[in-house]
Subunit: 249 residues, 4 copies
């Protein structure tokens, strides 16, 4: 029995292993939803009790999982100080700390529960593909993020000089104007700050003409790199099959 | 005559078949437009009569179509319980149900008329290409939709902690803050909720830097996969022609 | 002299031809800017006189151009009833009609001056490449435009049922709700209409998840097709050079 | 010692050269941030002193850098009148000019400090790749920018005729309506101007259907060209390695 559990933890491809993995993923997601609902004001006492019990149950399961993982790893210290070891530990820590502390401090600790999302990472095979794609276009993406940063700054400086006199409230300094630059170049356009002078509007037009291209390119690059990674993997899979075929000769 | 009608239903490529198909498509679209206009307040009695008569006429045609399709299919039960069989049935059902019921219930039933749009699916050959493209990038699109969901949740949690004190109305809980996250990351930016604290604005900037990429990538992936499907189909068509050419030797 | 002018009109690649073309393009653009400035309220009498004189001058040049083109074409009637022949004629017609009519009717006629923009089409060689790319992805773009239309309609229907009771002003009927659907799915989000009920907000989220992909794909398709056309043209140019090289053997 | 400094300036790949480069880049960025913070109203005297001292320090370093670069270049006049020579000079000039002038004029001079950003260009190797990609799709991008300009103008003209009567404030002339066209076609949608008539709304829908494609295509073109440049460079690098391998025979 003990062997079977340890095996389920070690081996992701066995039937038990998959069952174990999906259980943990489900509990992570339920735990996050619980954290979210807890913030709704005016919950009934019953709802709060259910949420609290769910949280206690999940934390106990995660504690058992943590202890099992320590037991299952051959070199204990290696797992404990690995990335996932630390994440698994921080995911249960706030609960036990909160027991000893005043309840007022609980609120900030709850935020640490978000660390549990990082646990999801372990299970995502598709993330590898994404990682490869990012490495492929790393240099270009960094260039465009740099260009975006400089563009945001230039936009903020420009609009500050054009709109400062007309709207001293919204554009009181360059750092304040950055908010306008972010909301405009992302094309979100909340409508809380916008130019009202002719010069400011022409400047906005010029910035958008340049900016839309710069902001939208990285997404296109990642998409195109992902397609390339997919094609390469397919080509290699095809080669493997071919090698196997001819290998039998 | 009866044979010719049954043939028109079975064979989409014959002249009669195409005429039949286009008639049904037109009636589906007219039926949807009718449903839409019916909701306009202050219609004259005459307009309402015309809309009602159109609806009666279209439902009768669809009923005849349904009966013909049952007659045309070799195994009756197989068509009746197929996807399109059920869609065709639900598309006429509400009308007959409404005859028996009180008119007040009519309103909710009318919504079912939208099911008729699903009938359109049958006629779209281009949908196949799109289907193939989606299968090609299924894994990546699911990954990005998952990432979008997690990002939305993280954004809502973050903005809740930053803006809750300053705007308790708009950001009263994490589920409430999700509305802000949706409207911001989709870059719609209605302007009904937006951060006003410095921390909230910097957080918005960070979320947008990451989020714009994640949200825009799936569309790029589908576009690039569609191009690939198109090229593959062209290459295969080319091969077929070549084979025919050399086949004559 | 007469021969040289006729030659300049017929031959776009000669030095005179290019000079003639650029003159006409400049006059078209000036004419459009003039139309635009004329609408600014509170112009001085002097400005209005200059605008009027510019308009008279440009129309005279276009009239001469039209007569020359008629003279330069071998089959007169063929040019006159060709696409560009009609465009060239309509581009000067409103001016002469306005002379005979009451000045009040002038305003509507001025709009016809926009037809002059169509004259630009004649000079754009890059348009060919774009045309080829559109043909390449025509089927997919039409599919996505159709999907967009259906999605807009479904969104409007859905939001109407969710928001009608809460905001009878903004969502009074499905056709009225279409405005919300257009402004949301294009991600413009003016902020004049937005859902306020929980159900409406969740519906908006679902529609955006599906809609952003559908709306953004056609642009990606056109971009990818344009790249393909460019590569094909380059490959063919390469082949031509190769053929020339080996042709000398 | 003197030789070592001159060497650090000339040779970007040596250890000293890289250290020197990174120092200059950091100072440029600090200088820009300083300019930005200076505009915040209500700074304490101490903060302003620190900002002022930082500015003095950076300008002195840049002056020394300029003099060293003059010394390090073999043909003095060639560096001084080169692009970077002029940029380096303008980056320090305003400071010295401001010393001689009245302090009131200082504000406008400070803007020139932005020229320092151009100094960054020197260090960006990734910019080359971007430059190549832009050249590859230059013609198409110009075509789409032209189409965008014409579309903006047509949209402004259209909305002016539809909305002028209903909202004479916001759409008082075609040039004023251009602001609406910019904010709509970029999908920013601040919400300060939007159509309220039925005709205006239908027109907006039509313009967006066409416009979203046209505005989004250039970014896709640049992304796809960048991928092509990357692939070509990789292919050439592969060829070089192959040549080296076979070159030893």
């Amino acid at each position: 029995m003990a062997m079977r559990i340890l095996d389920a933890i070690r081996n992701h491809d066995s039937r038990d292993g998959r069952l174990f993995d999906y259980t943990i993923i489900s509990l992570i997601l339920i735990s996050i939803v619980t954290l979210s609902i807890e913030t709704v004001p005016g919950l009934t006492k019953q709802t709060m009790l259910i949420l609290r019990l769910t949280e206690v149950f999940i934390t106990i399961v995660f504690t058992i999982e943590y202890l099992l993982r320590v037991a299952a790893s051959e070199k204990k210290s290696r797992y404990i100080f690995s990335f996932y070891g630390i994440v698994d530990f921080i995911a249960i820590l706030p609960f036990y700390l909160a027991l000893g502390f005043d309840l007022r401090g609980l609120r900030a600790f709850r935020l640490f529960r978000l660390v549990r999302l990082l646990k999801l990472n372990r299970y995502s095979h598709a993330m590898d593909k994404f990682g490869k794609a990012v490495i492929l276009v790393k240099e270009e993406v960094v260039l465009f993020l740099g260009a975006t940063a400089i563009l945001l700054f230039l936009s903020a400086t420009g609009i500050y000089y054009f709109e400062n006199t007309a709207q001293p409230e919204n554009f009181q300094s360059i750092p304040h104007s950055l908010w306008w630059a972010v909301s405009t170049l992302s094309t979100v356009g909340y409508g809380d700050v916008y130019p009202i002078t002719i010069a400011g509007k022409i400047f906005t037009f010029a910035i958008l003409m340049i900016g839309l291209g710069i902001v939208a390119v990285p997404a296109g690059l990642v998409a195109s790199a992902l397609s390339e990674v997919r094609r390469n993997e397919k080509a290699e899979a095809g080669k493997d099959i071919k090698n196997k075929d001819t290998g039998a000769v």
